[in-house]
Symmetry: C2
Subunit: 400 residues, 2 copies
């Protein structure tokens, strides 16, 4: 008995059958005596269809009009879901972003939520309605529609949970929770019962895209308890919260990211500020640098090695060649980043060496290492990534 916010993505409401499936999950929760707010994305291909339609009339449409167009997508899915719930005999109402009180700034296409005026939401809940809310969208102070950008519906759901002080925010996806590694690839990969916000954030940035980062950050900020679970098999999933009980597992997950390019600047003359200039230039071009390694070469030169996303590899080389003389710049896209994440590891100094040992015993060469409080990443050959994940997973996760 409480207030539950449930969020369903576009694939969960892709067609009539799936809409009815979602309606069943929602009404089951309601029948258990809970107040329920449901946040939905646009149906499956609607977003792509609308983008294609726009492209046919104008290849570079104004973002304000694009948001006006895109917002129609959730308008369709919320009314259909409300109809399905109504058809099952439950009281329900659908609300557009602005009807649900989502006030945003005016950055069309990737607006930020400024606040939620929850009056209407509260009034509908007081009438015992199931409330279906359009995710991803809001309204700015000019009364124009805005959209929140990638992963916006997750953020909408968390924002509502925060505004209404919901007991839980359930994010339904196509997986049953957060796993210690990709269960399709790693034998013994386990679903986690619980995970902290920080661990979830690290896992997300490392390629385990179950939850949008903005929504996890917001959940952390407002203390909203999240649950990641499957809309096709709605058994208990993974809870994301601030503090979790100590478990025998030292680390929370092993992930692989192959969207990595390794750029090496060899024989760089060590003039003052040269590293700053290099990274300022890259930042200016919106090239995000991840891991940086610097080593001293001979004759007062140094080697500077860093990673960027794969498609930024060659452009970064071009950019640097125009900027630097007398040094060799090479790019290697045949690499992967393998990482372990876990809030427990910071108090266990042996974690890194245990990871390296697992790699050594599998004959895998480490090219770079990066560590943070709750994460250790290594750059290795792309071909060895899957083998590396399995070896590390086996070393850390008890196979009970």
């Amino acid at each position: 008995m409480g207030l539950i916010v449930q969020k369903f993505g576009g694939s969960s409401v892709a067609d009539a059958e799936r809409v009815k499936n979602v309606a069943r999950i929602v009404t089951d929760t309601y029948k258990q005596g809970n107040d329920v707010v449901v946040v939905v994305s646009a149906q499956g291909d609607t977003t792509d269809d609308l983008i294609a339609k726009a492209g046919e009339v104008n290849p570079h449409p104004a973002k304000r009009e694009m948001d006006q167009l895109m917002a129609a997508g959730e308008q369709i899915s919320i009314s259909l879901l409300a109809m399905a719930i109504e058809g099952m005999g439950f009281p329900v109402i659908s609300l557009l972003g602005w009807q649900a009180g989502f006030n945003t700034n005016s950055i069309y296409g990737s607006a930020r939520i400024k606040n939620i005026r929850p009056n209407r939401l509260q009034a509908e809940l007081a009438k015992h309605n199931i409330v279906v809310v359009a995710g991803f969208q809001g309204i700015n102070r000019y009364d124009d529609l805005t959209t929140l950008g990638r992963g916006g519906s997750d953020t909408s759901a968390v924002a509502i949970a925060a505004a209404l002080r919901a007991d839980r925010c359930q994010i339904f996806t196509d997986v049953e929770g957060v796993y210690t590694a990709d269960p399709r690839k790693v034998e013994g990969a386990k679903k986690l019962d619980e995970i902290t916000y920080d661990e979830m954030l690290e896992l997300a940035t490392l390629g385990a895209q179950v939850l949008n980062n903005r929504s996890v950050e917001m959940a952390k900020k407002y203390g909203v308890e999240l649950e990641v679970l499957s809309s096709l098999n709605p058994i208990p999933g993974t809870i994301v919260k601030e503090h979790i009980k100590m478990e025998k597992m030292l680390i929370r997950g092993v992930t692989k990211d192959t969207d990595v390019a390794l750029v090496s600047i060899l024989g760089l003359k060590d003039t003052p500020g040269v590293a700053f200039k290099i990274f300022a230039k890259l930042a200016q071009k919106n090239m995000n640098v991840d891991i940086i390694l610097q080593s001293f070469g001979r004759d007062g030169t140094k080697d500077l090695i860093f990673t960027v996303s794969k498609d930024n590899g060659e452009p970064a080389v071009k950019l640097l060649e125009d900027m630097l003389d007398d040094c060799r710049i090479v790019c290697n896209t045949n690499v992967a980043k393998v990482s372990i994440v876990g809030a427990g590891m910071e108090s266990h100094p042996g974690t890194a060496s245990k990871m390296f040992e697992a790699l050594f015993e599998s004959n895998i060469n480490i090219q770079m290492i990066s560590t943070s409080e709750i994460k250790i990443s290594v750059i290795i050959d792309a071909e060895e990534a899957d083998r590396a994940v399995s070896a590390i997973h086996k070393a850390f996760i008890p196979n009970d």
Copy 2:
């Protein structure tokens, strides 16, 4: 130089090419120095698609949710048209019904406009924007979306023209104007330069469905000058207004309506109030009666003959058989109503006889006659309807 409201229906914006065509018409009008407000319907099949989607999840959805769903249709078309206009280099903004200030009552599915708060429209026009408005939709006092029902976009356009005191409201259709008869069927059928509101209303009810009646009534009430013209060939069309200059044409048009059933009650006992009871019963079942003829038979009985729409013919017979004894009730669906319409005819007593003469000379038998100030209708055999229209048209419309 003035303020023009232009309305385009769903087929005019059915695909990207047609959207661009509409954008050209709109921007041509703007280039001539006019302020332009454009009202559009949902694209071609969008409405049907959305209705089908609703039917898949709930065969009898709540009307409030149906309106929430349907309103997405114009949201898509207005943003696409705005993008197309923007792509041609003109300043433009799209507005949803509620953004354009359309306040309606709460009869979902066929809401009535209560008023238009034109502040936003005026502000955008003051910025020299072309304003693209979603027709067919508004908002009620609960901040819920409503739709206006059949022909709603015409009504939206006229309402804006009235609220902004526009110089003209142009209704773009797939015909080039209002004709004296169906030009595909009647040789010598002419496009009218002008027609009065009352004539237009009679033509519309008689089956010449160019303009929605509600919109013509509203235009008459607020003195909005209408123009009916083609979006595929935007040459001057037909102007609809209160007073038009006298023309040599006595009548404005000849129309045919085959959606007619003739119900005859023969040998009805003439008890007091029997006619009232019959028509009250029909009205109660929502059967609209058009022409009524009463004649006295022998032995104190009378014959009562009237017309209803075709699908109400047999049900009316059934209803009356349960109600009346001792009389014979028959239904003839093989009839048509042919009418002439013209404000000029009321001052020409010879009009009716001229019409009957034309039919007599073509050997066409008249079964019933009905007259009003600006209309004369006859009921004849359905097979002879086209021939009747041609004969009457030839008699009245000078073939210059």
